[in-house]
Each structure stands twice: as C-alpha cells, then as structure tokens.
Amino acid sequence: MSNFLAGIQFPDITAIIPEVIALIIGCLILLIDPFIPKQKKRLNGYIALFGFVVLFFVTLSYLGKSIVTFFDMFSVDNFSTSMKLFFFVANFVVVLISLRYLEMEDSNLGEYYALLMFATVGMMVMVSSKDLIMFYIGLETMAIPLYVLAGFIRMNERSAESALKYLLMGVFVSGIFLYGIALTYGATGSTKLVDIVRFTYINGVNPILFVAIILIACGLGLEIAMVPFHFWAPDVYEGAPTSVTAFISVVPKVAAIAALLRVYFEGFTFFAPYWQTVLWLLSALTMIIGNVTAVVQDNVKRMLAYSSVAHAGYMLMGILSFNELGVSSLVYYFFAYSFMNIGAFALVIYLRRKNIVGDRLEDFRGLAQKDPIAALVMVVFLLSLAGVPPTVGFVGKFLIFSAALKAGFYWLLVIAVVTSVISLYYYFKIARSMYLEEPVADEPLLQPLSVKIAIFLLAILTVVFGVYPTPIMNLADLSAKVFFGY
C-alpha cells in the first residue's frame, strides 16, 4: 500500500488556488443572497467586483511561474496566467455594466453573479488544462452557466428562446467535440497532450487523427462562433440580456480560441501544415460571411453578433500563423477585442430605458445631439472595431496581419483586408445614424453611473493602449514564449 502511494506524486495544490478562490466566491454569493433584501441585491454585484479584483492580483502573482501538476493535466504557465488575467479584467467590466441593467430588467438576482463566477472557473480550467478530458470538463463547466445566463430574464420570451437554442446547439456540438476526443484516444491511447505529441513523434501521423483534428475544431467552433457553427450567435445575442451578450460575445469565445490554440500547438504540433489549411478555410469563410452578413442588419445587437463572428475569423489567423508573433498578437487582440466589443454592447445598455431595449438602429438616431459624449465614445469603439488608428483595434489587427504575413498567408491577408474595408461600412451605419440623423423624441436617457464608468474606462483603455500598447504587448510576449520560447 505504501509503495503504491509512493509512486503517485501528490498534486501541487498551489496551482489551482485562483480557481478555488473563484469557486468560493461564487458559492459565497449563492449563500448570502437569500439574506439580502430585494432592493439591496446589488451587493452581490459588489462582491463579484471585489472578487475579480482579488482574483486578478492573486493570479498576477503567478506570472512567470511554471507549474505542471495533477498528473500532467493541469498547467500554470504565462499563457494560462495571462488568459486568466484577461478573464478577470473582462468580467470586471461585464459586472460593472450588469449592475444597473439587471435592475432595469427587474431580474436582479444573486445567481447571476454566481453563475458568472462558475463560468469563469470553467474557462480558467480550459486555458490551464493539458488534457482533452480536462478541456471538456472546463468547456461544460463554462457552458452550462452560460445557458442559464442567456435565459436570465425569465419572463421575457426571447430571452428564454435564446437560452433554449443555445442549450440545444451547445449539447449537440459538445457531442462532436467528444467524438473528436474519442478518436484521438483511440489513435494514440491517451488524452494527454504530452502523450499525443510523443506518440505522433514516435509513430508518425495517423489518418484517424486528421478526422479528430477537424472534429475538435468543430466542437470548439460553436463557442468561437466561426462559420459554419455561428448560426446560433445572432439569435442568442439578440435575445439574451445585453450584459450577457457582451459577456458571451467576448469571454467564452476567447477561452475557446485559447483552448484550441493549446490543443493544436501542444497536442498536434506535428500536424501543423494540416490544421493550418483547415483553419485557413474556416478563417476565410468566417471573415467573409461574418462581415458580409453584418451589412444588412438593422438591429445593432445582431450586427455586432456578425461582427464578432468576423472578429473570430481574424483571431483564427493568429493561431494558424503558428509563430511567436501570432500568439502574442492573439493575446493582444483578446484584450483589444474585449475593450471595444464590451464597450459597444455597453452603449446598447446605456440606451436601455423604459420600453426601449436600445438595440435598434433607430435608438442610436441623433445620439450626438442628445448625449454627445456617449456618441463620441461609441465612435471610438466603432473605429477600434473597424481597425482605425490610434486604437487598440488597429494595433491588434496590424499585429495579427503581420503575423500572417510572416507565415506567408498572402491570400488570407487579402481577404482579411478586403473584409475589414467592408466592416467599415456597417460600423459607420451606426455612426451615421448618431451624427447625421435627427433624434427621435422618446423616453429620456437614464445614464446610469456604473455603465458610464464602464464605457469611459473602456474608451480610455481603447485609446491609451492603442497609442501605448507596450504593457499588454509585454504580457503577450511572455505568453508567446510558452510555446516558442525554447
């Protein structure tokens, strides 16, 4: 018995301290929620805000550390650490824009923040795992709270519909993902990335793995919202509460892309030319279809949904470049994308008022006259989304494009640039309606303070890191070193 135990390395618990803290905060919110009177439910949100700040600093102390534990299934490295930092920053803003919004929707329940925490735990596991089964567990831990969040406004038909759609699609596609894992296991005898790469190194490529690679891409493709797995996105984005849409359109997408990156880079290293071509096709399709379809949308949330599909295409370029610049530009792009995309959705929340969701193009009409500063801030986000300097969006696109250029994907670059130009058109439909059309007389704007803080914060980040990208670039370079540092 003692010999048996001696053979097992006891896992290094310190590696999962941030995950544990997040879990505890989630449970804590659930526990104290019943004792908070209805009109003071916002306290839950403050706990979550505080929690994300604490998590941020705890995780920050992990930067530079490298731990692989739990039998090579869980890894703390600079890539996973910076992804976690990203989650906390993005979630912090999401909570900020949710505080008042939930009250307006009359759904201010503590579960919201607890679910957000649990989803975050799932994503943290996803980016840290070095085992396909762990990936799957992380994915599901993330996805299930998301289904609930999408239907959080229970009395709203559209919200419920979007939750159901999301659930059905999610379950269906996770089956495909599992199938991919099963094939990998069948071919290599392990689900650990280390073993897979070792096996393929010794035994050469196995045709079954070609199928598995595609199936894994398809499985993660749902959360990434890449073509042809994007159909759920516009429906769910439109129906879900706007704060949840802001969340879904950014954070899980990033988590899934990060996971895909790790699986391909660390597990299927020797298949690089193959999955590069697969992603080439997917990325091209995603950019074209995302941007083109967005042109005819007149609902801003749907338009942003297609725009986020298009951005997924740009981000895939970062993976398929398969070089150091690709990874670091991708990490930078994650931050950039979160600032501008959450910002744009926050503006929709800003326009939420009595009987008006704020997501129709008409709701933006004449905003420049009603609230010039909000209109200006929206223009900043739109410029950034379209990739116009001096914003983070520009720097991000510039870096990703140069990574693809370095890797020699010229035609993909041509597609990316042309579709970027198309994107300018639909983004500026919003700007046009804000600046060139007369405002409609309707309910006055509520201008909630927490949303104001959030949009200003995001706008400042969008511009500041566009002009001075070094801090994020440093973090991104550290992350890239995980895969290419030696």
Binding site: L164, F172, I214
Partner: protein, 657 residues
C-alpha cells in the same frame, strides 16, 4: 529639479486638454484661469531647471518607447543642456507674460476658450521642440507649432484674409519641411539614428559631401520655419492673427526654431563650411532685404513683421559665421524686445479700434504714456543703441562676422543696422509723436490699456533693457558664450588678422554711430519734417516702389508656382472630366443599356451604373446569407453537420491527393 523637467510641457498639455474639452461649454470666459496658471507652473519649473543647469547639471530624461522595430528605435526623451535651458527660459517667460497680456487683449472675443486652447497647445509643442532629444522629436514639435501657427493665424476665420494667410503660412512651411524631412532621412540613412548625442558622436564618420547635403536640407527647413529667403513670404501675412500670437509665435518663439535647430546642429554645420557660408549669406541678405522693405510699409505690424524677418536673418548670419552663441544670444534678446514691440503695437491697436495704418496715428504719446514708453524702449533695443539688449547681441554678431573675414557681409550687416534704426524710429515718430492724424471716431475711445496688458509690457521692457548684460565681456568670450560653451563647438576663425587690424572698440563705435545716424534721419524726416518724405518718394520712385511692393516676390511666386499648380489642377480636372468621366459614363451608359435590355427578362436585376456593382454584390450575398438564418435550431444543426461533413470531405480529399 532637473529630473522633473518633463513636467514643463505637461502643464500646458493639461491646460489645453481641459480648455479643449470643457472650454466652450463650461469654462467660457474663465478659460484664462486654466491656461495662465498652467503656464505659470511651467515658467516656475523652467526657472528651477535653469538654476540646476547653471550649477552645471545636464540630463537625458527617457520617458517611454515610442516606435520600436528591429530597425527603428525611437524613444520619447528630453535632453536638457545649456542651450535647452536658455530656450526654455525664453519660451516659458515670453509665453507666460503673453498669456497674461491676452487676458486683456482677447477679453471680449467670443472664441476666448478656443484661443487659450490653441495658445497652450502651441506652448506644449514649442516645449517639445526645444526639449526633444532627437531630430524626430524636434520635428514633432516643429510640425506641432506649425499647426498651431496655422490655427492661430486663421483664428478669425470669418475674415478671408486671415484664413488665406493661415494657408499661406502652412503651405510655405511645408515646402521647407520637405527639405527638413529629407535632411533627417539623409542623417538616418548614413548614421542609423536621429538622437542628437548619437548623431553628433558619429558625425565624424560622415563624408564632407554628405554632411553638406544634410545640413543644407535641414537649413531648407529652417528657411521655411524662420522665414528666410526664399520662404519668408508667409511671415508678414501671418500678422492677420491676434497680436499676442504675432508676438509669441511670429516674433519670439516659433520663428526662432530654425535658429535653434542650426545652433543645436552646430557640430554638423561646423563640419560643412559650404553650408555655413550659405547660412551666413542667406541670413545677411534676408536681414538687408527685409529691412529695406520695412522702410516703406505703413502698417505698424507689418513694419514689425519685416523687422522680425530681418532680425532672424541676423541670427542666421551669426550662426553662419560660426558664432552660434551670438546667434542664440540675439534670439534671446530679440524675443524680449520684439515681443515687447508687438505687444505695444497690440496695445495701440486695442486703443485705436484695430486701426494699424501709421498714417492715421501720431501724437499717441499723450493718450498712452505707458505704451509709448515701452514701445520706445523696444525700439531702442531693436535699433541697437547701448545699453539696451539689442545692442549687445547685434554687435557681437557683427564683430564675429568681421573677425571671421566676412567683410562684405559685415558691411551689409552694419548698413542694415542703420536701416533698422531708421525704420524703427520712423514708426516711433509716426505713431507716438508729431501732429495727431487720428480720425475723430477713434479719438473719442482713445485710452491707455488696462493693467493686465500694461504690466506684461513693463516686465518685458525690463527684459529688453537688461537681457543684454549677460553678453558682457569676460576675458576672451562673454558670460553668455561661456555658459553655452559646452554645447557649442567653436569654429576657429580662418582669418584672425582683421581682428588685430581694427580694434573691437572701433567696430562698436562705428555700429553705434550708424544706428544713431538712422535715428537722426528718421528724426529729421518724420519728426521735424525738414525733408519732405513725399518728395523723396517721388525722386526715388523706383526704389520706393521696389520696397513698397516687396520686390514683387509674392507676385513672382504666384506666377511661378501657385498659378502653375492651379493650371495643373485645372488640367487634371479637365482630364478627369473628359477622359475619366467619359470612360466611367461610357461604362455606365453601356451597363444601363444592358440593364434596359435585360430589364424585361430579369425584372429585379437592374444594374444601376458600374460603380454600384461592388456594393450590390455585397448586399445581395448578405441578403442570401440572411435567408439562411431561419431561426430554427434544427436547421442550424443541419448546417453544423453539413459543415463538419464538408470539412472532413474536403480535407480528406486534400490528404489523398
């Protein structure tokens, strides 16, 4: 304190930001409460930094990385040495007092916050210009002040002459900037860096031809910014801006940027004797020609403008004969007395309800004692009468010109000094003395300016009296020259013989005599009327006409460049109209015809012109793609499966072949 020098430009930046964002809506006529204290702090910090530099400290403050690529590494860094410290003192002192003056002068202007925003922005860029540690950062400031100058010349943009003058200034400057950029590229190409200390350290590796080309190109930039031949034409027109702007930007600070640049690059210029010779000749000729034009103008501010061009010529003249310290010294004293003259003329303008024609003035001394007093002090300094500031610096330049063997240029410079004295006191006598020729309507409102305007006048006149004393002799050199010595690499004079032949005291006596003669002529012509100027104008009608029409340089430029550019534009337009539009229209016509034919076969497909084609395709495909978005989950799942299967098929196919 020197390590906090980076704060100096931050204050005006903050002031500009606050006034720029909240000015028009919230701050309104209280804008000076933001702008003036900001400048006050800058001034204070500059003084503290200056004291540090006096105690022998210099510093390189690296702020952050700006552009980093494998080939380019540009840091935003400030370089503070003796030259920077002098420039800092000049810029912040003048800026602060002119800001104060503006409170009174611009008091009733509806664009008050806009004015202060621009003015703060100008100071910010000017400080970047003098603090920057590389040619690139200097260029940032260089372009920034150009922009502010454009904005402020065209400040009263409702006036056609104002915005036209703004355009003229901007475009003329761009011509010079073209040279400046090429000069930077040359240095960059051969040295791989633009940082001052690295460029100067590596300069000896360059061949003389390259240094000559680079310095000449840089000087081309300076001729634009500092209004030298052939690009001086914009400066007189720039007087369309508010008078404090003329004082700050177009007399004291921005226009001297070229001189600063040349003095800063003295290592390079000293390596290129040909360039130095060009600088000296251009400077001296500009000084002479501008002074002659100044004698014939009737607009008070224009007289001062030509005088500025002329004095800038002196500064380049000084640099060109290797006396960089004297050039900078003249820059400093000139900033005080010319700023003072402009502000005084602004005070006159304020009292005279914006009338500037000296033929409608006279006897103003009775009405505005302080202004006339300060104007006369400025005039004495400009005319180079001891012990006023201008005397010391101008004399030093002439002395250096003489000792370095530029006898012809020295003669021209001394003659110019006489002309300068003449037109300065012509203006003084016509404006403040003699018989009043003031129209009645204006006379009723005539008054001395409020203290907020006269106090800056008094402060600057103190500067105009005493600033020259730093140029007192100290052994071989002067106090000022000794202070700047670490920055300036002196050229050894080729011809020391002349210095021995004629003692310095003789030269000084001569130039003072020339100056007094100029004043005397002005006195007898315009004060005592012993000689009727009109008669002399008739007798020398040709000369007068040449001066009055400014040598027809503007007309020449119009004929040579501007009209030809317009011709080209007109030709392109016609080409576009006939050829390009013809092709497009033809294509559109064909497609319309095609559409007309197909209209009855395919009703919805009417192609409306060739240009709409692209957007139509996007639109159409978007509509088709939207049709796919049915909203039914089962359909979506079908697409997912179909997509997966397609991917698998396609890539299995690729694998097999």
């Amino acid at each position: 304190m020197i390590e906090y020098a980076w704060l100096i430009p931050v204050f005006p930046l903050v002031g500009m930001t606050i006034n720029g964002i909240f000015g028009i809506k919230y701050i309104k006529d209280k804008a000076h409460w933001v702008a003036v204290p900001a400048l006050g702090l800058s001034w204070l910090f500059s003084i503290l930094v200056f004291i540090d530099v006096l105690n022998g400290k210099t510093a390189l403050i690296e702020l952050f990385d700006w552009i980093i690529t494998p080939d380019i590494n540009v840091k935003v860094a400030f370089w503070i040495d003796q030259l920077t410290a002098v420039m800092l003192m000049v810029v912040t002192t003048l800026s602060f007092w002119i800001h104060v003056y503006s409170i009174g002068y611009m008091g009733h202007d509806p664009g008050y916050p806009r004015y202060f925003t621009y003015l703060n922005m100008f100071v910010f860029f000017m400080l970047i210009l003098v603090l920057g540690s590389s040619y690139l950062l200097l260029f940032v400031g260089w372009e920034g002040v150009g922009l502010c100058s454009y904005l402020l010349i065209g400040y009263w943009y409702e006036r056609e002459s104002a915005w036209k003058a703004g355009m003229k200034a901007f475009i003329t400057n761009r011509v010079g900037d073209y040279g400046f950029i090429l000069g930077m590229f040359t240095l960059w190409y051969y040295l791989g860096t633009l940082n001052f200390n690295e460029v100067f350290a590596k300069a000896h590796t360059l061949s003389p031809e390259i240094v000559t080309i680079a310095t000449l190109l840089l000087f081309a930039g300076a001729t634009g910014k500092s209004a030298q031949i052939p690009l001086y034409v914009w400066l007189p027109d720039a007087m369309e801006g508010p008078t404090p702007v003329s004082a700050l930007i177009h007399a004291a600070t921005m226009v001297t940027a070229g001189v600063y640049m040349v003095a800063r690059s003295n290592v390079l210029y000293s390596m290129a004797p040909l360039s130095l010779e060009v600088v000296a000749i251009i400077g001296c000729l500009t000084a002479f020609f501008a002074a002659t034009i100044g004698t014939s103008q009737f607009d008070l501010k224009r007289v001062l403008a030509y005088s500025t061009v002329s004095q800038l010529g002196y500064m380049f003249f000084g640099c060109g004969v290797g006396a960089y310290a004297s050039g900078i010294f003249h820059l400093m004293t000139h900033a005080f007395f010319k700023g003072l003259l402009f502000l005084s003329s602004g005070s006159v303008m304020h009292a005279m309800s914006d009338v500037l024609d000296m033929r409608l003035m006279g006897s103003l001394k009775k009405y505005m004692p302080i202004t006339s007093f300060t104007f006369i002090i400025g005039g004495l300094a400009l005319a180079g009468i001891p012990p006023f500031a201008g005397f010391w610096s101008k004399d030093e330049i002439l002395h250096h010109a003489f000792t370095s063997g530029h006898i012809t240029l020295w003669f021209l410079g001394t003659l110019t000094a006489g002309i300068t004295a003449y037109y300065t006191f012509r203006a003084v006598f016509m404006t403040f003395f003699g018989r009043g020729r003031i129209p009645k309507v204006i006379k009723e409102h005539l008054h001395e300016s409020p203290p907020v305007m006269t106090i800056p006048l008094i402060v600057l006149s103190i500067g105009a009296i005493f600033a020259g004393f730093v140029g007192l002799k100290k052994g071989e050199t002067t106090y000022f020259g000794e202070f700047l010595a670490p920055v300036i690499h002196v050229v050894h004079h080729a011809n020391e013989g002349h210095a021995k032949a004629i003692p310095e005291s003789m030269l000084i006596a001569l130039s003072v005599a020339v100056g007094l003669t100029g004043i005397f002529i002005a006195y007898i012509v315009h004060m005592k009327k012993l000689i009727d100027p009109n008669e002399w104008v008739k007798r020398l009608w040709f000369l007068h006409r040449v001066f009055y029409r400014k040598y027809w340089v503007d007309e020449l430029y119009f004929a040579l460049f501007i009209d030809r550019t317009l011709d080209l534009a007109f030709f392109s337009w016609k080409f576009d109209q006939w050829i390009i539009d013809g092709v497009v229209n033809g294509a559109a016509w064909i497609s319309r015809a095609f559409a007309w034919i197909t209209r009855y076969c395919t009703e919805p497909f009417i192609v409306d012109g060739a240009v709409n084609g692209a957007s139509y395709v996007v639109d159409l495909s978007a509509r088709v793609l939207r049709r796919v978005q049915t909203g039914l989950v089962s359909n979506y799942m079908l697409f997912v499966v179909a997509g997966t299967v397609c991917l698998l098929t396609v890539f299995m196919f690729i694998r097999l072949f």
